[in-house]
Amino acid sequence: MAQISELNFFVTYILVAILLFSFTALFALFAVYAERKVSAFIQDRLGPMETGKFGSLQTLADILKMLQKEFIIPRAADKVLFVVAPVIIFISVYMGFASLPWAPDLIPSKINLGVFYVFAIVSVESVGILMAGWGSNNKYSLLGALRSVAQVVSYEIPAGIAIISAVMISQSLDLQEVSRLQGILTDQTTKFFGFWDVTKVGGIFAWNIFQAPHLIIAYVIYFIASLAECNRAPFDIPEAESELVSGFHTEYTGIRFAFVFLGEYSMMFLVGMFGVLLFLGGWNTPLPNIGSVTLADWTTGTAWGIIWIVAKVLLVVFVQMWIRWTLPRLRVDQLMDLCWKVLTPLAFLCMLISGVWRLLVM
């Protein structure tokens, strides 16, 4: 019996891993289509219209094309590094999903150090990018990789400190615990802006950014830094088309290119979800209890949790796309100035306020 239950245990874990993988793949399919449609809307075009109704089968067709393409390895490339790099890029992002909770009792791996784990595992991506840049043996790829890693490493600092200021309010590194403290399931007293007790009201008022208003600034810092970590416009100098062809993935074709892209879009979802969990209430409902109309009680549960978190993250992803297609690219020095002279001091200020807030107000 013991062996069978142990077997079940492993089968569950493998199933969860496969589910998460198919989710990221499906999300990437959807997001590429959404990106095209959003960019088309912003630029007053129609976007893909030919394949399927409103071009809805366009990305599926693209994937089919990519699967059939030939693997091309440049003759001068370092073959091992070139082949392994896209896999490392994707896996580092994919492993991050392991400790992100989806609903009150739904989390792939409940670990005490969830926040730190996600932060640590995502930093592995830069090794993959450097590997791709070096392995391609191409000036554009190498420059793109260098720029990308310089940017990611710099922006990790304001992002990390903004995360710490949220963690100081929650007093836990367990992402499930952090989300639980932002809704009606909490076992502590929650106060809206530090004066109105909303422990029983819940909803949007109990989210971290409203429990401590300076976290709104911290979230904006985190959001900007997360754009830089995804290498997305206005921080896309690593793949600036006008200068570097397409940066570190210039030489990739077919399914390997698809893996790089899958990594990028999963990263968008991952950083969005991480931000939602820390600042925007996680899987908690935005609807508060109003007297006898207990909207928050009605809309809390496993299914509702998944719905809320996916809705919130998709909203964040939409904002990421919106920003990409409306803002111009930053120059390298402007990028570093923004990181070190604006975001980092502001993030430190947020951390300081968090400490004072925790001691004096909460």
């Binding site: 930093s123 592995v124 190498l142 260098l146």
Partner: protein, 180 residues
């Protein structure tokens, strides 16, 4: 042998073999990327020792920081130098290697001797700590935080000042020369 032990030995084997390859490999860039595997599986071994915080810190500092900096230094240097690092003699145990081999084996011998002298099983604090063990579900960070702020406050502060000095030095070096 249960599954945990199998996984532990797999991790340990990966650590040792990749570390050996790092040293033996002629291709410097590849050996740096192999070092990544060493560090990553080392983090895995830490997880099995229930030191999850140490494992993650290892990832953040060594993989995300030190290793990336090392790769940076390589990428910014000349590829020609990296590909042909001096014409080394091809013999495995050449005469010029003899001092290094001697030192390495002597050091290994001293280590073995010290370990046998210490008699780890007989140490009082190890025998006394039989019941004082961690559970998998224990939260280690509270302990780490409290000991850092009480017992190890002075080393902690010294390290922070040391890091501050390094930061100031780096900022000074990176600064533009002011024109007279």
């Amino acid at each position: 042998m249960n599954l945990e032990q199998v996984v532990f030995y797999v991790f340990a084997a990966v650590v040792l073999s990749s570390a050996l390859l790092v040293v033996v490999s002629r291709n410097l860039v590849r050996s740096i990327f192999l070092f990544f595997i060493t560090l990553f599986s080392m983090a895995g071994v830490f997880v099995f020792a229930l030191a999850d915080f140490v494992a993650l810190t290892q990832l953040v500092i060594y993989v995300g920081g030190v290793l990336v900096l090392m790769i940076f230094a390589f990428l910014l240097s000349n590829k020609h130098i990296l590909d042909n690092p001096e014409s080394l003699k091809t013999k495995l145990f050449g005469f010029h290697n003899l001092p290094a081999i001697l030192v390495a084996f002597l050091f290994f011998g001293i280590l073995l001797w010290c370990i046998s002298l210490a008699q780890i099983d007989q140490l009082a604090w190890i025998q006394g700590s039989a019941g004082n063990t961690l559970e998998v579900t224990d939260n280690t960070i509270h302990n780490i935080g409290i000991t850092l702020m009480t017992k190890y406050l002075l080393p902690f502060e010294v390290v922070s000042i040391f890091l501050l000095m390094a930061l100031v030095g780096a900022a000074h070096l990176a600064r533009k020369e002011r024109k007279p």
